[in-house]
């Protein structure tokens, strides 16, 4: 995903330097392209669709019957809250380019200004290169919604609803917005100026969400009875449905991040599809080999791992790179979500860290190798080597993880002090649906 301000420039740069010429015919003339606009309108709908119903169902099916509504509610209400927050101030913090200048590190390298609050000055005919600025705004909004929603999986079954709201609001302002700005905020952004490659959000979305989730589940503590008490998914078909919707919606997430309807968008969905498929198969074969039975939950989880991992790389690698990233993420995320988690004994209930955190990390660093032209990638920029690119990727990934961990921890402590984080034991036994929302999911 590219910032609206340097999108055109970046494309021309790519076209010039690395022969990546499949740019839609109207992107260059400065006007708004109906074709590009059509695609990003749809991509926006697809990413919203990933969150509700996609992610909500994926997570909802995995919890116990008594907590399913609480999970759906969190995904649903985060959609609403983050929409308002993005409109009021989030977009400005993430994408205002005022005060930035390429190569110079100042406050605006880390976070945007406030001049775009409430979309000041933006009308339907304000362009962001080839598409309307309002479309850039709403497409990016869907990322601002889904990133905190991903974290929901780590604290299901035991967190107060009000704590979810406070935590995610503060987190989106203090973690998501600045990281997004550093990577996608345009020339002058801290990571952008280093030449970091994060096409659709390996760092911005998956590493931040994965690390935030890990910290949250550690601070919250494990569910009552975990890991002794069995807590099987109450409705796996619901989870599979959600996974499938995430998969389909990811075409909008990655393909839309090209911000144009061209060969780059097509390439993004091709590698997305290949990585998802390969990771699905990797996870499946591991289970088949190890337990004798490949599970549906495993295959579905594998697909999400492959999708998360290809996200940062979907603009830079080709089919071979996608096969490698898919296979690696299917394998390593499996290991992280099962072996590692059990060893370290944290209760990341729905494996947000193991799947998104680890997957996002894999894609972010591996793309340094796989973007090479010999492997079908777009190749390196002028003066960039695989080594230097790798260094930048690693630095940005690790720095983001550390920053996210620290800030998440502080926010959680504050929220804990103010409204409390964890439900009472009686409420946990009763289930959050009744205790916090006064409803039951299924009635006769």
């Amino acid at each position: 995903m590219m910032n609206s301000d340097n999108n055109g420039r970046f494309k021309r740069f790519l076209a010039a330097i690395i022969g990546f010429g499949a740019i839609s015919v109207f992107a260059q003339d400065g006007g708004i392209s109906a074709g590009d606009t059509a695609w990003i309108l749809v991509a926006t709908a697809l990413v919203l669709f990933m969150n509700i119903p996609g992610l909500a169902l994926f997570y909802g099916g995995l919890v116990r019957k008594k907590n399913v509504l609480s999970v759906l509610m969190q995904c649903f209400v985060l959609t609403a809250v983050m929409t308002v927050l993005w409109t009021v101030v989030g977009y400005s913090l993430a994408f205002s380019g005022t005060g930035m200048s390429e190569g110079e590190v100042n406050l605006r390298s880390f976070v945007g200004g406030l001049d775009l609050m409430m979309l000041k000055g933006v009308t339907p005919d304000t362009p962001a290169d080839n598409i309307p600025k309002l479309l850039h705004f709403v497409f990016q909004m869907t990322f601002f919604i889904i990133t905190p929603a991903l974290m929901v999986g780590a604290f299901v079954d035991r967190i107060k609803f009000s704590a979810v709201l406070w935590f995610t609001i503060l987190w989106n302002l203090l973690v998501y917005a600045p990281v997004c700005h550093m990577v996608w905020g345009g020339a002058g952004g801290y990571f952008a100026d280093m030449g970091v490659q994060d096409f659709a959000g390996g760092i911005v979305v998956h590493i931040t969400a994965g690390v935030g989730a890990l910290v949250a589940c550690i601070v919250l503590g494990p569910r009552n009875g975990y890991p002794k008490k069995p807590m099987p998914p109450h409705n796996l078909p619901m989870t599979v449905m959600g996974a499938a919707m995430l998969w389909v919606g990811w075409f909008g997430f990655n393909g839309g991040s090209q911000l144009a309807a061209d060969g780059g968008a097509a390439s993004a969905i091709v590698v997305t599809q290949i990585s998802a498929a390969t990771a699905t198969l990797a996870w499946m074969f591991i289970e088949w080999a190890k337990f004798g039975k490949p599970s549906m939950l495993g295959a579905a989880t594998g697909s999400i791992a492959g999708l998360a991992a290809i996200t940062p790389a979907s603009g830079t690698v080709g089919p071979i790179g996608a096969l490698v990233i898919g296979a690696m993420s299917g394998t390593i995320c499996w290991w992280a979500s099962t072996v590692l988690k059990q060893k370290l004994k944290y209760d990341d209930s729905l494996d947000v860290f193991g799947v998104h955190g680890v997957g996002g990390f894999i894609g972010t660093v591996m793309l340094a190798f796989l973007m090479s032209e010999e492997l079908g990638g777009v190749g390196y920029g002028e003066g960039v080597t695989v080594r230097s690119q790798f260094g930048v990727q690693l630095f940005a990934a690790v720095a983001t993880a550390v920053y996210t961990a620290i800030v998440s921890f502080i926010i959680l402590k504050i929220v804990c002090a103010v409204v409390g984080l964890r439900v009472s034991e009686a409420e946990e036994n009763e289930g959050l649906d009744l205790a916090y929302h006064g409803e039951e999911a299924y009635n006769d």
């Binding site: 069995p230 099987p232 289970e287 599970s295 979500s337 099962t338 059990q342």
Partner: protein
């Protein structure tokens, strides 16, 4: 009158119902239960969390019959439900004090 409670394997329900009809049982109530017994459960693994499912799906059939039918009913259920493999289930016989047909207020053996 006796109440016969039979716990059987789910896929045997139709056969047992037919066997009961043959010995003249015209009424029964059926429900799903989870059974725990000698039959070993299986292991399910969800993202590496392995756990044993000891409770297996079974069907409970309840029917109240007159005393003279008890043996025939037991025989009918046992032979229809038998697979010879562990977990085939049990039949229990319980005394019944009275029976009432709600529709007609008939009482006792008339009611069943």
């Amino acid at each position: 009158m006796k109440k016969i409670e039979a716990i059987i394997k789910p896929f045997k329900l139709e056969e047992v119902r037919d066997a009961l009809s043959e010995v003249g049982v015209v009424g029964m109530s059926v429900s799903e239960v989870k059974g725990f017994g000698r039959q070993k459960g299986h292991t399910e693994i969800y993202r590496g969390s392995e756990y044993t499912v000891d409770f297996l799906p079974k069907i409970k059939i309840e029917t109240v019959v007159s005393d003279d039918k008890v043996d025939a009913v037991i025989e009918a259920i046992a032979s229809a439900a038998k697979t010879g493999k562990i977990g085939d289930g049990k039949i229990f016989v319980l005394p019944v004090g009275n029976a009432i047909r709600i529709r007609t207020d008939e009482k006792g053996e008339e009611a069943i």
